[in-house]
Structures are given as structure tokens and as C-alpha cells.
Assembly symmetry: C2
Homo-oligomer: 361 residues x 2
């Protein structure tokens, strides 16, 4: 017994057809803009559909056409708690982009240790058109599962330089390069990187860009000048404390941060130690635009490389839906966005222009 809302029977293709003396097939084609239907009847059909407030039953449609108008997003609870700050903004933007195309979002929060299981489950249920993934890691089990399963998905980020799946990414090497170039131009020679988790692909890219552009400017990159860790204020704070704790010639004069949350901790440490920003230390951070922590609102307004996380949502949706619709040119489904540089007051000319005194930590 269907517990549906069957007050005032729902219009179907058949009911419209009957009221017009047409077959369901013709009605379907008329509404979906197929060319084999006469203009006169098409207009009649459209008018009747409007009158009866016809809405195609998505379930029936999915059963035959394979498209449900629902996509899935699985977030990892332990991992996401750390990045909770951006979560709501991203979800909300994603939801808006999808709703604009009448697609819905199934959200699953996973506490599972097996990160693939949720995808397996959702895929097997057969209700979804595709998935949106984020935070890919090198050698990501979710991606290889979805690939071999032949599922549609789009990734926010890439887990390697050259991949075969559709993605939207920012140019993370360019992010580092932009920051490093700026600090080098300002005369800095001891530049450190407070990076994100080592196992995430974007961290590796940031690191790579950091190293190569420093080497291009003839700087050495001692291993201690790069620290990986979770993207928390706490982590930024203790990392910066440790960095400032060395001998004078070992202290960085420029710090590149992976996110504004990290930068907040770094700045707190600097201020606590009585360091002048940007006199003693310049800070530049990447900014994903988390509303709770605007870079302009820092004690010393923060110079950033800028690319809002939320601005990735619309392209991601577009790419995924194109893939679902059968758009096959893979080249058109891979986009890389370049970051902007926003100059604020946390960066300035280097006062101490010495090289790293020891590079053999």
C-alpha cells in the first residue's frame, strides 16, 4: 500500500494522454522536446501538463533512463571535524548549485573505518547518479573503487598530477609559488612552510611548488623549514613556537601557511613572543574563505593567496552533471583554477636578509 500523497490524483503521462487522446509515448516526447512530434500537438500537451501540474515521477524515470537527479557526498566524520569551519559553507553552496539544476544531494557522514564501504553501499542501492569527492589522497581507495565500479564522480582536487577522472582543482603549486615569489621579492631568504596533512594530495602540491620556486630563486630548503600537520589553530601555534625557538639565524623571516586557521595560530605565537609583523616575520597564508576567520580581520590583516572553497562548488556540479549526462570529452571535465594574491599588512620587506645558517638539521 503506497503511503503517497494521493490527494487529487497526481498527473501522469497516461492521464495527460487520455485527456488529449494521445499515447503516453507521444506525451513524453512532446514534453522532452523530441522532434518527431507535431508542433500543434506539442503545444496542446504542454498546456495540458501545465494545467494538471504534471511533474515527472523521478523514480520511474530513473528506473528506465538511469538518471535519478540525486548525487551523493560522503564526508568523513573524524576528518571533517577538523575542517568543520568550512563544512557548512561548502555544503550550502553545493546544495544551491545542485538545486538550480533540480538535482538533490544525499549526504552521508561516515564513521566507518572502511572508507570505501559507504560508497559501495550507496552505489549498490542504485539511487544515485554520481558522487562528489573531496580531499583526495595519493593512492586513494575511494577513487580506485569508484573508477573500477564505473561510477560517475567528480573530485575536488586531484590525487596525482595527471589523472583520468573529472575534477576541479586549484593550482596548488601556483599557490605556493605566488607566496614564495612575493616573499623573495621582499628580500626574504629564510622562508618556512606550515603545511597541511602530509597524506593529502594538495599538501604535496603545495610542498612541491614551495620547493621548486625557492630553488629557482637560488634558496636552499632545509628540511626543518617545512612542517606538516592538521589544519588547526593549535597546530599553527605550536609549530610557530618551535620555529621561533631556534637560534637567530635559524628563525624564518617569512612563513607560508596552508590555511587561515593555521595562520591564526602562527600569528598568535608571533604576537606572544613579541615579534613585529611584518617587521620580524612576514606571514602569508592561503585563504579558502572561511567566513568565521576572515583574513582581513586578523590582528595584522593577513596577506593571502585567495581561492574560495565555495567557488569550486558550481564548477564541480557542472562537471559532474555533464559526466552524468554523457558528456564524454574528458578534457572538458578537468579544470584547474588559479589563485589570486591579496596583499594586506602581514607581509613586508625583510629586515634580516641572512640565509639559513645551518641546513643540516
Amino acid at each position: 500500500m503506497p503511503l503517497q500523497n494521493d490527494l487529487g490524483n497526481v498527473a501522469t503521462l497516461r492521464s495527460i494522454g487520455e485527456s488529449l487522446g494521445l499515447s503516453p509515448a507521444t506525451v513524453s516526447r512532446a514534453l522532452n522536446g523530441f522532434p518527431e512530434v507535431g508542433e500543434a500537438t506539442r503545444l496542446r500537451v504542454i498546456e495540458a501538463a501545465r494545467q494538471l501540474d504534471y511533474r515527472p515521477n523521478q523514480v520511474a524515470r530513473k528506473l528506465v533512463s538511469g538518471r535519478s537527479g540525486i548525487v551523493g557526498l560522503v564526508v568523513d566524520k573524524p576528518r571533517s571535524l577538523a575542517t568543520d569551519t568550512t563544512f557548512f559553507g561548502v555544503i550550502s553552496e553545493l546544495s544551491a548549485s545542485l538545486a538550480a539544476r533540480d538535482v538533490d544531494l544525499v549526504l552521508h557522514v561516515s564513521t566507518d573505518m572502511d572508507e570505501v564501504e559507504p560508497y559501495r553501499r550507496l552505489l549498490a542501492k542504485g539511487t544515485l547518479d554520481g558522487f562528489i569527492l573531496s580531499g583526495p589522497r595519493p593512492d586513494d581507495a575511494r577513487i580506485s573503487f569508484l573508477e573500477t565500479a564505473g561510477a560517475n564522480f567528480v573530485v575536488h582536487g586531484r590525487h596525482a598530477e595527471s589523472v583520468s577522472y573529472p575534477y576541479f582543482d586549484i593550482d596548488n603549486r601556483a599557490v605556493s609559488e605566488l607566496a614564495v615569489e612575493l616573499l623573495c621579492d621582499l628580500g626574504h631568504r629564510r622562508i618556512a612552510l606550515v603545511n597541511g596533512p602530509a597524506d593529502l594530495a594538495f599538501s604535496a602540491d603545495r610542498l612541491h611548488g614551495f620547493q621548486t620556486s625557492l630553488q629557482q630563486r637560488g634558496r636552499s630548503v632545509p628540511s626543518r623549514s617545512v612542517v606538516h600537520g592538521p589544519m588547526t589553530e593549535q597546530q599553527g601555534y605550536i609549530t610557530a613556537l618551535r620555529m621561533f625557538n631556534g637560534e637567530a639565524g635559524q628563525r624564518p623571516t617569512g612563513i607560508v601557511c596552508g590555511s587561515t586557521v593555521l595562520a591564526a595560530g602562527v600569528m598568535r605565537a608571533a604576537i606572544e613572543l613579541g615579534l613585529d609583523i611584518p617587521g620580524d616575520v612576514s606571514i602569508v597564508s592561503h585563504d579558502d574563505d572561511v567566513p568565521q576567520l576572515p583574513a582581513a580581520g586578523f590582528a595584522v590583516p593577513l596577506t593571502t593567496t585567495w581561492s574560495p572553497l565555495t567557488s569550486a562548488c558550481a564548477p564541480l556540479v557542472e562537471i559532474l552533471l555533464a559526466r552524468v549526462a554523457g558528456e564524454l570529452e574528458p578534457g572538458r571535465l578537468q579544470h584547474v583554477a588559479g589563485p589570486d594574491l591579496v596583499l594586506r599588512r602581514s607581509t613586508g620587506a625583510a629586515r634580516d636578509k641572512g640565509e639559513w645558517v645551518r641546513t643540516d638539521f
Copy 2:
């Protein structure tokens, strides 16, 4: 052309039936526990299904049975940004409770001015089994829409004392009563309420409980002793500042807060003004258990009425799914949970036991 995952064909009722020499109908009944199927064949079927990793196609199921195994949650973006702190926890708990019963959650973040439109859209698509609502208001348009549309839904909270729809609520009057009783027992006579938004049903209940239990103890409730507003730290702070700003006999010695976020602001104000807690002012707050703001971690650990928001998720899911499954006894689908009282150090005996000096603000 279905763009499905058809590598290594997905098991269907037919394919299982063929491999066993049975009809799809028998397989279906065997798996769904119908009594008309022999125990021997049932075991054979179950084993085969396990081997082939059979998962029922939810779309096909929905088409005939009217159940899709997907429920919807619509959150209001502007409204939710304020309560962002609890959002992730609630979503995550909801998702876990649903997944345990193999049901998925469609999340829609609404920026629409018309709060009913998202429900209308989702309902018309015909893919959902029901909805979970939260934050009902007196005269809530969403509820009346879903009621007249005959949709399944469950509400976290109630928009009136006695309603006809399934809900899970906490006893918000008891919340206030518990807090007021405690403060009265400690000898307080000037007790204020820093309440949530005036247009939400639970705020009205808290207010009601606050007023009646104070009157029962023979206290007057001057209008100025109750303030409504958004549940933010800022709001708590400025409200408390205003309250402490009056003449001595107008200052409350006990403050009841609607949430720990409000309480954080109230405590900040008290500390800033050099007031002793609980000597000069006792603070008791309701605690929804937001992980970012544990009541025990306050500068002065906070006495609270305690009922975790997340603990509402499992009952809500249970109620909704019972309703979807056709459970008809409405009485069994309405639950009210009582709050606990957790005593910490923010409450103590009143030093100043005077009544409100003026009640005609």
C-alpha cells in the same frame, strides 16, 4: 542509455532466481521474510544473495511499494549559520541513525525566501519517503503544508502544546523549571532569563516554564528579567551587560541561559565586570551538548540542564521510519524527553536575597 555500473552484472531477483531455479517472486519473499516460503529454500536464497552480494534496487522498490529509503532534511541557511556549532553533530548523528537502517538523507540548504518551496519541490519529485523538520515555530507554514499534502514527517520539537503530527521534543518547560527550582532553593529571588529567539516554539515553552515556576515560588517576574534574541555569544554578552548595568536591586543574582553559547557571553560579561561566580551571580544554562563549547570547560564550570541534541536523532529517525512503514498509532509517535540537571560550580547560594526593587520597567 543507462550510464550505470554494469561491470560484473549487478545481482537482481531474477538472476538469483535463475541460479536457483526459482521465480523472482519467491526470491523476493524469501528475502523479505514472508511466511509462505519454505525454510529450506529461504536459506538457499539467503545464501545465494549473500554470495552474489545482492542489494535490492531501491528505485524499483520505490516504484511499486512507494518506499525509497530516502528522507529529506531542509535547513535554512540564514537561520542555521547562527547554530552552526551544533549543525555538524546533528547531521552526523542523523546520518548514522539512518544508515543503520539503510536509509539515506537528502540535505537541502535553503536560501529561498519562501520556506515552503523546497518542500514542495522535493515532494513533487516523488523520491522521498518523508521529512525531518526542526526548529518549528508557532504557526509554521512548512508544517501546515506537509500536513495538507499528506506527507510523512517528524518534527524535532512541537509548534504547540498539543499537535497531531509525530514529534520528538524535550520538555522545555521542565528545563526552565529545573533551573528555576535550583536557583530558588539556593535562595535567589532576582532571577533573569536570557532566552532564545522569540519566534521559536521552544523559547515560548522555556518562557512559560520560567514564569509559572517562579510564580509558584511566589516570585514576581518583571518583564525586563526576560530577554529574547539570537543564540550567540555576542547576544549573551550584551544582554548580560545591560542586566548588570542597572541599580543594585535591579541586578539579577541568578541567570538562566537558553544555551551554552549564550552562557559563554553572559559569563564573559560577568567576569569583565569583576563579578564573582557564583558569589555575585549564579549562572545556569541549558546544554545541548555542543562539542566546541563543553559546559565543564567554562572558566567557572557551568551548571546545566542537560539534554544532548544529538540524542534526539535516533528517536526522530525511529519515529519517522515507523510512520513511513505505516505505524498508525499516533500516540506512539510522540515522545517528550525530560532534561537532567548537572550541578557544577557556576551556581551557589545567593548572597543578596533581596526582591526586585522595581517591577514597573
